[in-house]
Point group: C2
Chain length 337, copies 2
DNA sequence: TTCACCTCTGTAATCGGTTTCATCAGGGGA
DNA sequence: TCCCCTGATGAAACCGATTACAGAGGTGAA
């Protein structure tokens, strides 16, 4: 069964020899079967079967002047928030026969150098950026392949964006809280320079304005559970607390809620909390978290599809806004008298 | 500043022409600078600077007979458990100049076909498999590059494994519960055919045996929050409940705990719960979850390093066992009288 | 019969690097 | 002075595909 010489994997040449045709014909049989005759096609397919041939992607990519891969750049792979977006991206790319390459932007000192190296046509055919804190210059060089931004966005970078409707999300949260009777509504925000946080700040302020209210205290966090906990400690130490808090993500909301309960405060009796994202966990907390649902998988698939269109030369909208919705659960209630 | 003709990205030929040397010398300057003379090297580097040249990876890969990428196969990218392992893998690969390609094994009908296509030397230089439910045959074909298994493992596949010490983890949980005075200890396990679950079953049974006890009721879940919730409902309906439950992961523990509390049961007063994994959330739950800590990032880095060694032709251990530890928090207490 | 045209296939150039092998200049020893 | 050796470099083969171009053979119309 085995040849006596070392079993090399088959080349297109081997297939051609066995089928009694040229390599050109083999190539055509695979990429454009209609233009080869019935009989030849059968012979070639048989030879492929016999040899177990599969095309060498490096060679194909070189010749076709592409790489077969899309690079997704996320600030922190370990963060579950990003992983679901990646999953959506992966689904779409798989269907298009493209590899999903992932890169962590939380990289060492030579970060900029690394990024420039990543954002290169010879490494990937396109780029999906999930990190709004990167240097826009990197993506404006001529070597950089097409870019799509998702969730966050980079100031000064003109690449298409796929975003959740952050303003509206903040508005939904405020409307809900005001509807319950809250008037002193605080905020647990992300970093000041974060574009998401800015969009939600603005939606938050405007929605309060519509009700004739102004923002109460603002705490700054970094989207981590731990920073929610820290904010809770500040809150506990304050006098004249707000009666509700709108948090920039569920993880901070969760960290805050845990710390408050530990200190003996009741949620929602003593304080209402609204999160953002609707991570899977949120509905399983006690109390289950009221939150603004952000369809992360859809964000990923939309971003990937936008990028594919761009690669096909189709015109794409500069901004795609994915709708959000409010999931009312148990962490919000009318304020105590 | 711009040439009047279209700005092509520079080729090695362009650099060679400008530096007044052959392409061979340019290549050598980049891959093995010591063998070119000082003056030549300077001229080449200057020409590279001037042209903004960077090597074409497809061409380099073709010539070097490699792909520059490692493929990680995970059952579900959206699952935060895997994302932290991926993050560890990413760290190591980045240092080695390799791309991390990720693939979801939760793919459609033609799954096997897809996998065979993935597990191919021309797509990746190596494979890290995080899914124990795959067909071993796929990875035993001659086209398949070196494989390392991490966390889970495939029955009948001889590739090196990097595993948490599951038996010992289960033992730690049992010892802790028995130490608190529990004698009727139940289990919320993963799917019966899952290798992790089997290892923990065995550790669980053996540890109980050491204390002269036998397992109480066993619920089956699928590692999801929802399945924890379902198990809780079964538990609530049962008479003669166990006084403690050892769960196969924190998410199921969390789903169970939420449902129990909702039904008015107190954790740990009425039932003690131990999880497995120590996901970040666990310490922020109320009550904070007692759990077996599994160092996920370390699992990822170890797996990646093992694979790199294998690619270098170094002999690697068939099984690397990463130690686990018990994090005692608030979800466990002595049983009620 | 001749010519235009169509279908199918093969030849060879090409993608952009790396590496083997040959060459050449210069230095040191006999 | 001659020869050998070493270090630096260039010419050309090679990696494995794709595709422009050309040619062979067949068909149908004039």
């Amino acid at each position: 069964m085995n040849e006596h010489r070392t079993q090399r994997t088959a080349r297109i040449k081997d297939v051609a020899r066995i089928a009694g045709v040229s390599t050109a014909t083999v190539s055509r049989t695979l990429s454009n079967p209609d233009i080869v005759s019935e009989g030849t096609r059968r012979a070639v397919l048989e030879a492929i079967e016999e040899t177990g041939y599969s095309v060498n992607l490096s060679a194909q990519n070189l010749r076709r002047q592409r790489t077969g891969g899309i690079l997704a750049l996320a600030p922190n792979l370990a963060n579950p928030f990003f992983s679901e977006i990646l999953s959506g991206i992966s689904d779409v790319l798989r269907g298009a026969g493209l590899n999903l390459i992932v890169g962590d932007t939380a990289i060492g000192d030579d970060a900029r150098l690394r990024l420039v190296d990543y954002a290169n046509r010879s490494r990937c055919d396109g780029l999906i950026v999930l990190d709004g804190s990167l240097d826009p210059e990197v993506f404006m060089r001529s070597q950089c392949p097409p870019v799509v931004q998702v969730c966050e966005w980079i100031q000064g970078l003109a690449a298409p964006k796929v975003l959740a409707d952050n303003e509206r999300g903040a508005g939904l949260a405020v409307d809900h809280l005001v509807g319950l009777g809250h008037e002193r509504i605080g905020r647990l925000a992300g970093p000041e320079k974060n574009t998401l946080t800015q969009a939600r700040d603005s939606g938050f302020g405007r929605a309060l304005g519509r009700h004739g209210l102004v923002p109460d205290v603002v705490y700054r966090g970094d989207f981590s559970l731990a920073s929610g906990q820290r904010a809770a400690e500040q809150l506990l130490g304050a006098r004249n607390r707000p009666t509700a808090i709108f948090c920039d993500n569920d993880e901070m909301a969760c960290g805050m809620m845990g710390a408050l309960r530990r200190a003996g405060l009741q949620v929602p009796e003593d304080l209402s909390i609204v999160g953002f994202d609707d991570i899977e966990l949120s509905r399983h907390l006690t109390p289950a978290l009221t939150t603004v649902r952000q369809p992360r998988k859809a964000l990923g698939t939309r971003a990937a599809r936008t990028l594919l269109q761009q690669l096909d030369g189709v015109d794409v909208p500069n901004e795609t806004r994915v709708p959000v919705s409010l999931e009312v659960r148990e962490s919000t209630a009318p304020p105590a008298r």
